[in-house]
């Protein structure tokens, strides 16, 4: 009976791992396309009202994942609360920003592009690309390209959150999952006629639950 639970849990956990890899690949590609020093995805944690580093490519990769800061501070915070993409250059000119950035991420970017990750009507987080080479002035075409990455990252982040929610349900509501798992185990063992009858009964139960 715990086989089904284990299988479902493995599915949820497995997909969580895949979605993390997908996010990581999105920041890697974003960093390459823009020839940037780093790129990161922040997840908005509604419970704590914080932004969390969820994937990082380039500078800071390895150390930053899991770090948190309040949802409305910093440039990522601006972007999350206003839901507007933003590009800021010459950041190293600002001593206050430079100090804060150095304290939280270990390096001071000269410039960054940040875009909100919007999925359906939710703001799930922020994608940032740091220090693209400033050979030419920033263009709206780059902003559009960043928006496309943001769409991908938003979908990956949405799937990641759903996988995590599924795992939480399995962990927190074990009793209900157990009952369903027990039923699945009995169904699996049953003879074909009994199995057919049980499935019809289940179908009828489903209809009953749909009715008010």
């Amino acid at each position: 009976m715990s086989d089904l639970r284990a299988a479902v849990a493995a599915g949820a956990l497995g997909s969580e791992q895949s979605y993390r890899e997908l996010l990581q690949s999105i920041v890697e590609v974003a960093r390459s396309i823009f020839d940037a020093r780093a790129s990161s995805v922040f997840l908005f944690d509604e419970e704590s009202d914080e932004l969390v580093f969820e994937a990082v490519a380039g500078e800071g990769a390895g150390d930053l994942v899991g770090q948190r800061f309040p949802s409305s501070t910093g440039i990522a915070g601006w972007v999350l609360v206003t839901r507007q993409p933003l590009v800021v250059e010459e950041l190293d000119k600002d001593p206050r920003f430079a100090r804060e950035a150095a304290e939280s991420t270990g390096f001071v970017p000269k410039g960054l592009m940040a875009v909100p990750l919007l999925h359906e009507d939710n703001a799930l987080g922020v994608l940032e690309v740091l220090d693209r080479p400033q050979k030419a002035a920033f263009s709206l075409a780059e902003m559009e390209l960043l928006g496309k990455f943001a769409n991908e990252a938003a979908i990956a982040l949405d799937l990641l959150q759903k996988a995590r929610a599924a795992r939480t349900v399995l962990e927190d509501e074990g009793a209900e999952a157990d009952a369903l798992a027990r039923f699945a185990a009995r169904l699996d063992e049953a003879e074909p006629e009994k199995r057919e009858a049980a499935l019809q009964l289940l179908d009828a139960l489903g209809k009953l639950l749909r009715e008010r």
């Binding site: 949802s71 409305s72 507007q84 933003l86 600002d94 009507d121 559009e144 928006g147």
Partner: protein
């Protein structure tokens, strides 16, 4: 001058009563930029920056007439309250917008309504309360370099946008350059703004393919930055206050214009229509 709206027949027009609603605006043969805002400074116009607050005494911003903040009480069901704001700007976004308006409309009066900065959670009801307050105050222009994607707020925002429109308050809002549904910029009672790449702050374009209606300067803009300085930045957030300032200029010269008429003036003086530089 136009008659006060209260004197006008509200729901119908009796036979032969066309005289009663004659509009006093004298349209020139061609609406020029000089007619629209030549020599205007925004004097007498009250512009509300609905944003993250404004840093007091920033040299790019100068005097701020009043600053208020919106916050929810401690309990779950507490109403959003309006309080006088003494914290200034927590993130810098509102100061940047205020600085752009001040640069183009130097004699307008700026009021800060802080709806951002206290955390992201619960920001929807705070945004609504802030906009409702700003509309009730009857500002000439409200700058909204922000939006919400929450559909549950769309209907209320729509009502507020329409109320503003009929009360002669111009709501100027940042559009999204991503394929997402967000509000209030999509409403037709709002002047929605996206970015162009030209360096001239007075260059703006009418977009014949809405919902984004106008494009204003939004790329490589020197914006006011916390701590009294400036920085280079790009985004529709900064195109919007360019358009707000231009609205304040036109209205300071032609206070009789309704938002509908103002939009026409903006259309006729847009660089891709009839606007000369």
């Amino acid at each position: 001058m136009a008659q006060e709206p209260a004197d006008l027949p509200a729901w119908s027009l009796p036979a032969g009563a066309g005289e009663r609603i004659s509009i006093g605006v004298e349209w020139p043969e061609r609406v020029t930029r000089d007619w629209a805002f030549g020599g205007a400074t925004g004097k007498g116009m009250r512009v509300c920056i609905l944003d993250s607050g404004i840093e007091a005494g920033h040299p790019r911003v100068g005097e701020v007439e009043r600053a208020v903040a919106f916050a929810r009480g401690e309990g779950e069901d507490e109403e959003v309250e309006v309080v006088e704001d003494t914290e200034g700007d927590l993130c810098g976004h509102g100061t940047a917008c205020a600085g752009i308006v001040r640069q183009l409309a130097p004699e307008c009066s700026l009021v800060s309504a802080r709806v951002l900065g206290a955390g992201f959670k619960g920001s929807g009801p705070i945004l609504l309360a802030g906009l409702r307050w700003a509309v009730e105050q009857g500002f000439d222009v409200i700058n909204m370099s922000l939006s919400t994607t929450k559909r549950q707020f769309a209907e209320l925002l729509h009502e507020l946008a329409d109320t503003a429109y009929f009360n002669r308050t111009v709501l100027v809002a940042s559009a999204h350059n991503m394929p997402v549904e967000s509000y209030p910029w999509r409403f037709s009672s709002v002047i929605s703004v996206g970015s162009h790449e030209e360096p001239d702050p007075m260059t703006f374009f009418y977009n014949p393919s809405p919902p984004v209606e106008f494009f204003a300067r939004g790329v490589g803009v020197e914006i006011a930055w916390l701590g009294g300085g400036t920085i280079l930045s790009t985004g529709n957030s900064f195109a919007t206050p360019h358009m707000s300032a231009i609205c304040a200029l036109v209205l300071s010269k032609h206070p009789e214009l309704t938002p509908f008429q103002l939009k026409n003036v903006l259309y006729l003086t847009a660089n891709n229509v009839g606007g000369e530089t």
